[in-house]
Amino acid sequence: MAKYHLNVAHLYGDLLNTYGDVGNLLALEYYAKQMDVELKTEVISLDQPFEKNHFDLTFFGGGQDFEQKIVSKDIQKKKNDLTDYIENDGPLLAICGGYQLLGQYYVGADGEKIPGIGAMSHYTETQDNNRFIGDITIQNEETGETYHGFENHNGMTFLGEDERPLGKVLKGKGNNGGDASEGVVYKNVFGSYFHGPILTRNGELAKRLLLIALHRKYPDVDFSQQEALVIEPTF
């Protein structure tokens, strides 16, 4: 039996699960085990409420246009709870479509403007007949960590004033191919266009998410042992 327990929400895991996104959950479990933490993961999908006080960690992946559009309607019902969760420093990892849907809006490949939940200030435009596809490397300017991944997106995302990028693009295109930013950090939300999946190639980020969740759930516990966990390079 593990000493610590975290409840993980996998938002729309049955609909948004392209590009091996599930690897993020497998990586979280892999590192959690080494930190004496057990994860209990639950898919929260269409017509199901998001219980903001129940979950300690949330993952929100990307999907195909059709599924994403269905999700964009359903998620409006979870908007308030998700916004409260984010504002209360709940840790959340959002990839691609999930990242876009937390923001103001995104424009689909067919030109239709689809509202997000507006919990965050970024917005996403479309590019004509082009996608950013290829290997990408970024550097997080606060931690100095380098992250490796693969991007494959049509959307061009622009960050708001209160948001900062997950990293500066060293190789690849990033959020919009223009301002050298990739992904977003806002409170304890991490958004990114990285597949790979992001946590399997960048264990430091998995560790960071787990530690945030642990400190938030167990504020009086000393996690220095967990903090000392050495992440072996995997890429």
């Binding site: 699960n17 479990e29 290997d135």
Partner: protein, 448 residues
């Protein structure tokens, strides 16, 4: 034949003769030359044939080969295109080089790439289309499943009278109304129980009302006896059905279709679907069930080429091409049916032909393999680090794992494995590299 077509045909045929005789190749260039001289050439070449078009994401090649075998029971001569020549030019070459007898109306069974269906139907009206499945496939190159299906439909719309022989277990093939007659095949082999597809499955939304589909029988991925709990959308009535699954091993399957026992010498549930598709085409063209069963049960190495058994000294190596998540998961399920001890290697490259995005390896259920006492794992290819970590997360320990980035050294490593059975999963260019190395050591003949 117009003068233009005649010149184009002659030019194409002579280039094929030249390439074939002197360079031992030439599957698409003759078609390219011919099409350049006469863009409408397929209309001329295909005019006298009854054409069956086989398309879908996975299983095209084997379904085509099996269908040719099945129809061989009735037709003396069948035109088909070789694997990998499923685009317009390869198809033109196949027609150019066909040696049909005069005065007969021959049959052409063509494997056609999803996006190239329309390039065929612009010139030829097929008698039938066979739709195997549509899965997520190398998404750095292809689009999503709905886009892929749309491309096929665009081609089918030019032939509204052709019969569509479709996998009835795939919800997507029941999602768009078409004037064509439909024939469906599928599985009815289990008692019905209520279930949902596993979380990581693609294409589980009802196309009518966008609720999540439920299943009464589910075979794999999103295939099965599906229904929508919110509206009337459900699996269509099946015209041909598999009623029992008797036995599955990594190298064979036994089952019953419409009361007729069958055996095929290839493992994997997905290959049973391919056999079922071939059966449906056979029945559609009036071949009897017993005759189909006879042809399918022949152990024909050329037909089952993608999954290849290679003897390396005392080791039996099964080399399997993997390219997308559903295919990978099916291969893992098939390997899991081996009753002998075995080892496993995965060679991952990320060249254009492999798919430059390697994230799909995370969709394979490797976790099931670590429960099976596999003594030796190996990772290789330029992206061996990605697979190594995938194995590690699945539960493979460091002492069970050999890493060999250089594919040319893989064969030597395999010789010292502790088991006689070894499965090597590899992406396209890694298969080529491994075959090259096996050929230079004399274990197989040169060529693909």
């Amino acid at each position: 034949m117009t003068i233009k077509s005649a010149i184009a045909t002659t030019a194409g045929k002579s280039s094929y003769w030249f390439l074939h005789t002197f360079l031992k190749g030439g599957s698409s260039l003759p078609g390219k030359i011919t099409a350049a001289l006469d863009p409408d050439i397929l209309k001329t070449l295909g005019a006298n044939y009854d054409v069956i078009v086989i398309t879908g994401t996975n299983g095209k090649t084997l379904t085509t080969a099996l269908t040719v075998k099945v129809l061989g029971a009735k037709y003396d001569h069948i035109l088909t295109n070789s694997a990998g020549s499923n685009m317009e030019q390869g198809i033109i070459t196949a027609f150019l080089t066909d040696k049909r007898k005069k005065n007969e109306r021959p049959l052409a069974i063509l494997e056609v790439d999803e996006a190239n269906v329309i390039k065929v139907t612009q010139y030829i009206t097929p008698k039938a289309f066979v739709l195997t499945n549509i899965f997520r496939d190398q998404m750095d190159r292809y689009g999503e499943i709905y886009t892929t299906y749309k491309k096929i439909i665009d081609g089918i719309k030019l032939a509204p009278e052709a019969t569509i022989i479709a996998n009835g277990d795939a919800p997507i093939f029941h999602s768009i109304d078409l004037p064509n007659p439909f024939v469906f095949y599928g599985f009815n082999h289990e008692e019905e129980t209520e279930s949902l597809a596993p979380t990581n499955t693609d294409g589980v939304l009802c196309p009518v009302c966008q609720h999540i589909l439920h299943y009464k029988i589910r075979t794999y991925a999103n295939l099965g006896k599906y229904y929508c709990p919110n509206c009337h959308f459900s699996r269509p009535e099946l015209d041909y059905q598999l009623t029992s699954l008797l036995e599955q091993t990594p190298t064979s399957s036994r089952f019953i279709i419409d009361g007729q026992p069958m055996e095929i010498h290839v493992g994997g549930l997905y290959n049973i679907y391919n056999a079922l598709a071939a059966y449906a085409v056979g029945r559609f063209l009036d071949v009897g069930p017993a005759a189909i069963s006879n042809t399918l049960s022949e152990d024909d190495e050329q037909v089952f080429g993608r999954q290849e058994l290679i003897q390396v000294d005392d080791k039996e190596i099964t080399l399997i091409l993997v390219k997308n998540p559903v295919g990978l998961d099916q291969v893992l399920d098939m390997i899991a049916t081996d009753t002998e001890p075995f080892s496993l290697a995965f060679l991952l490259n990320a060249n254009y032909a492999d798919g430059i995005d390697t994230s799909w390896i995370w969709d394979g259920n490797f976790e099931q393999l670590t429960q099976m006492n596999i003594p030796q794992f190996m990772t290789g290819g330029e992206r061996y680090k990605d697979v190594s970590f995938r194995f590690k997360v699945a539960g493979v320990t460091d002492d069970q794992l050999i890493k060999e980035p250089d594919v040319s050294k893989v064969v030597d490593q395999l010789k010292s494995f502790p088991t006689k059975h070894i499965y090597v999963l590899a992406t396209y260019t890694a298969v080529l590299q491994l075959r090259k190395s096996l050929a230079s050591d004399g274990y197989i003949k040169e060529g693909m």
